[in-house]
Symmetry: C2
Subunit: 471 residues, 2 copies
Amino acid sequence: MDDKQRRLARTDRHAPSSNDCIAALRSALGADRVLTGTDIPARNMQDACHYPPTRPLALLLPRSTTEVSEALRLCCAHGQPVAVQGGLTGMAGGAHPEAGEIALSLEKMVGIEEIDPLSGTLTALAGTPLATIQEAAKEAGLLCGIDLGARGSCSIGGNVATNAGGNQVVRYGMTRKNVLGLEAVLADGTIVRSLNKMIKNNAGYDWTQLFIGSEGTLGIVTRVVLGLHPQPGKVSTALVAVDAFADCIALLRFIDRALPGRILVFEAMWADFMAVAMERIGLAPPFTRTYGIILLIEVMVADDALEQVLAETYERGIARDALVAQSGGDQKKFWKFRESIYEYGRFFPHLIGFDIAIPLDRMEEAVAAMRKELTTRFPHRVVVFFGHVADSNLHIVVAAKNSDDSDKDEIERAIYNMTQAFGGSVSAEHGIGRSKRPYLALSRDVNELDLMRRLKAALDPAGILNPGRIL
Amino acid sequence: MDDKQRRLARTDRHAPSSNDCIAALRSALGADRVLTGTDIPARNMQDACHYPPTRPLALLLPRSTTEVSEALRLCCAHGQPVAVQGGLTGMAGGAHPEAGEIALSLEKMVGIEEIDPLSGTLTALAGTPLATIQEAAKEAGLLCGIDLGARGSCSIGGNVATNAGGNQVVRYGMTRKNVLGLEAVLADGTIVRSLNKMIKNNAGYDWTQLFIGSEGTLGIVTRVVLGLHPQPGKVSTALVAVDAFADCIALLRFIDRALPGRILVFEAMWADFMAVAMERIGLAPPFTRTYGIILLIEVMVADDALEQVLAETYERGIARDALVAQSGGDQKKFWKFRESIYEYGRFFPHLIGFDIAIPLDRMEEAVAAMRKELTTRFPHRVVVFFGHVADSNLHIVVAAKNSDDSDKDEIERAIYNMTQAFGGSVSAEHGIGRSKRPYLALSRDVNELDLMRRLKAALDPAGILNPGRIL
């Protein structure tokens, strides 16, 4: 029996039970919490991985943790698979519903419940958009350490479920480092709650850590307590040109020693990336000649302090050239390079995006080898390298010049195999979801995978939560 | 059958099997790895909790992860309980062997295997003393973010197993935040390895997080990868007088906003603590009058920068007085106050130490209520309050003026019950071990405890690893 047959068989086996389950859910939660058929909005039929839209058996819209608990209790009793949905901005297909699944969306559980200025914490319901949290923190004179492009639509529950990364990880760490407490509902409906606001709390296992980054497969996050930070004050932005990756790291360490804890953004754009930004997207060249790598950096100091440190790196032969933004206009202009990636859709018929991590001591070598492999084997493709390299995160986009996308699988296999060869991770910040599941074993050994399965079986023995994601 | 009978019954049941197990261990690992009887050094018969010394059935001294794996495989096959030992500096009895247990010490697995200056990481065997790691990081021009009083004798594996805290948590976080990768051996001997050096790695569950702080009950940590930090450069030390706890937090937030990310140490010493330091230990008063709380702070800036910020807090009525160290001698003198606690043994026949956490927004109230309770109900006791309060950690020492220690249990119950009432944690940084197990349910609800038990059962179904610790 192949995978497809197995899935169909499972769907068939569950079909009558699914109808009972939906009836039970309607009766327990009320009809307005349980949408079916054409009442299910198109937006809940896919996430940002853009698999073909799939209508779930039902869409559950719980308004409270108690309703999430009741929903899971009933789904568990009926062996009904559940796809968990946050802001639907995930890139790995984790929230994309499969045929035969019921989707459970946290979108109605929105709200900031507390900002505690003494503890420096914020407590929110899982469906709250990240941008709402950022604004509330700012109004309270504080800063939320999590920030990513999807801030307007992603939800804090989804950020926690995927351990989201983003642009400020070099300063504030991944989502994990910003979470102090969680409330979650297990597959059988059990509510576990540790709405901890204390930095030190060693009372038994910190179970919340296991749920962060588990992509909804171990439980559904319903509430989050975040630790906030002081607002950064003045932030200076610069474009810095260096010759090679070793210089990026030398620059990073130099700034970090001179201005400890002040680096906010440290984004690398290789020459191929800059070439597309200038030649295709049409941005004006920032420097009079080209360099191996251009860095977009933001540092929490005044312009002159950053200028002085960059001058020192120039004298030491680390930086080859540098521009410090003198205005908000400059800053915007500098960011346009990094954001040019969002324009690719207008210029290329197909894009393959990679989110991998490579240990810093292998990065230079890995980029060279991957570039050679891609440009040699797939000459009709445009390849660009960029990333939040301070935290080992490398992004690659492989764009098609024409409408031929038939080599997609081959390209993915090539890059993920090379990622393994360099001791890297097939997912830096996007998670595994459904799309990277075939490649997980390249970054995790047999014993690690077995351990993950043991944990999954312990918390969700019937396997109803986000089946087929990660494992 | 009461607890004691049950333990005896279990010991009896295992006795013949234990002899077989020891024979099998000798044959597999060699006699020099398996000590018994009087060959077992006294130091391995207790940890820093100072329960009466207990001789384990055997002391295992593995030299490699493979030997740890082989040892656990055999113990598991014989249903033989194992007590895991690191540097034996734990305060909660986690490493104290019980009758019928075999002790497994990591003390022979010592060594730094790699310092990667590009990635800013250090990889060490679990038995390596923390001080050795700190020195190696320093020699490489970097800093280890973990620091605690026991640095000379505690081991990095023990730091990870207990998620150790210490003096610099306000800057670098608990041990958890400094760990990038782990290797561990499960109860059945399975070796799981994720010697990750990348800040971003979302390839499946981060199982390492579950092991951090699990006190050897889920697996034995054998290798650790730490993320290092830049060296702090100039550090300034000050004693600051404030009237009340709200002023501590106002001072903390003010400095953190003025000098973001620079606070290294922020220790509070209440008036009762200062009184003992001056009147009994004999330290000279730092200020001409007494204040509600004296703070010992260290900030990573030059003296004049700290002086300027403290002057502003004085003008705003937050700080009532302040002294900035002008020399190494001053710095040492300031620390003498905080370290006066280590002298108590010479002045008081009995001491009861508490390591609890209280949410910052309840701290003032909690300290007042606990002080009132203790001084009213136990007037023959000397009570002092201090702690790393920036991270919610409160220490209390209740000293006996005479040799009567009969009210110890009553005092513990009183403080832990009040900790629960204020929404705090019965363990901030020392863990639960054996000594705080009776109080764990005050800080964790039934569903959390059940979840912990599920995880324990999934990873150690026979319950051989550190039984009776935490759960």
